[in-house]
Symmetry: C2
Subunit: 200 residues, 2 copies
């Protein structure tokens, strides 16, 4: 009895199921969608995958993804070159860009310090960050890591590491997200919101 | 300000976001996964998409997906060629094969009759089904469509259409799924389970 699909379909389902956030049922659904889709649509997806692997590289300065290195942000003279915002992943750069509030540069660490996973400062782009701070042109480093255990530990590490350099090191505010409800806020978020209270 | 990614990444995100079950965040996550994945892994996915479009076709007899037509099921002499199970989509063939309970052949309709979407009997593989029944070798047709409005209507249509042919037309049993709880069963499922009650 045929309990798996013929070769090519099963290989496509397996390839999709290995991607993050796609389970076996979702992979099957996508495979059948592509089967009945036009050749152009399927080819567009295959081409996009190959193109991204051929064209996209990491910016030699900030580590963000780009097609030309240095990236569009690092090479933009209109941006504020005295500020560096340190983020974990390239997608965090896009999240901050979408706020339209930040005009400085970025530095992508490529992760956070995590002793359990054997990731130390030298496995991240922390030496490269120190290099960028050498010429004294940067006056503020905003550490914008995720507010979880590894992010907090890495923020503390960076704050201590940069303290001798006479550079202002700041971090994102912790508190209630906009639209949240006091009743459902967890205790840590609420106590951070209290500690960080501002004049009304 | 850069509010979208550089060309190739954005094209990849858009291509994934157009697939069923993948939203913009999921597409972004997959794109960055592929960026940091090995070239081999990304190429395997791109190749699988192209391969499936080049190799996979539909069986000329039953309409199931296959790489050789007639498909492995239609051309298997050990299967019971007197029974045809009518399903909506190729993936339904796999669902029934997984039960290991059915040894007959299949017929994939490619959809259900749906006047709202302007899909009539001739838009489906219903004429092809009648052709297959012409030589009198088939003694039973099991209609295994989804138990929703279109599936029920199509089942009724097929049952009436085949009634002059002296072929037994059966349908899947309706009732409580295994492991279900009477308390949470909907009224229609429960009334079907009552109507279809069997000797204990």
């Amino acid at each position: 009895m045929a309990l798996a699909y013929d070769g090519a379909i099963q290989r496509l389902i397996d390839a999709f199921a290995s991607l993050p956030g796609i389970g076996p049922k979702g992979a099957q659904r996508i495979a059948f969608h592509l089967l009945s889709a036009s050749d152009e649509e399927a080819q567009r997806l295959a081409d996009a995958i190959e193109e991204v692997k051929h064209k996209v590289r990491f910016c030699e300065i900030c580590g963000n993804v780009c097609e030309t290195s240095p990236c569009a942000i690092c090479s933009d003279p209109r941006r504020d070159h005295t500020m560096i915002c340190v983020v974990e992943e390239p997608k965090d750069v896009m999240s901050i860009e979408r706020t339209r509030e930040y005009r400085g540069l970025y530095h992508v660490l490529g992760g956070t310090i995590n002793p359990m996973a054997n990731i130390g400062p030298n496995d991240l782009a922390i030496p490269a960050l120190l290099d960028r701070l050498k010429d004294d042109s940067v006056t503020e480093v905003i550490v914008a890591l995720n507010p979880n255990i590894e992010g907090e530990a890495t923020t503390t590490y960076l704050s201590r590491l940069l303290s001798p350099l006479e550079i202002k090191v700041t971090r994102l505010a912790s508190g209630l997200p906009v639209g949240a409800d006091l009743e459902y806020a967890d205790e840590i978020t609420l106590s951070r919101a209290l500690m960080g209270r501002r004049d009304a």
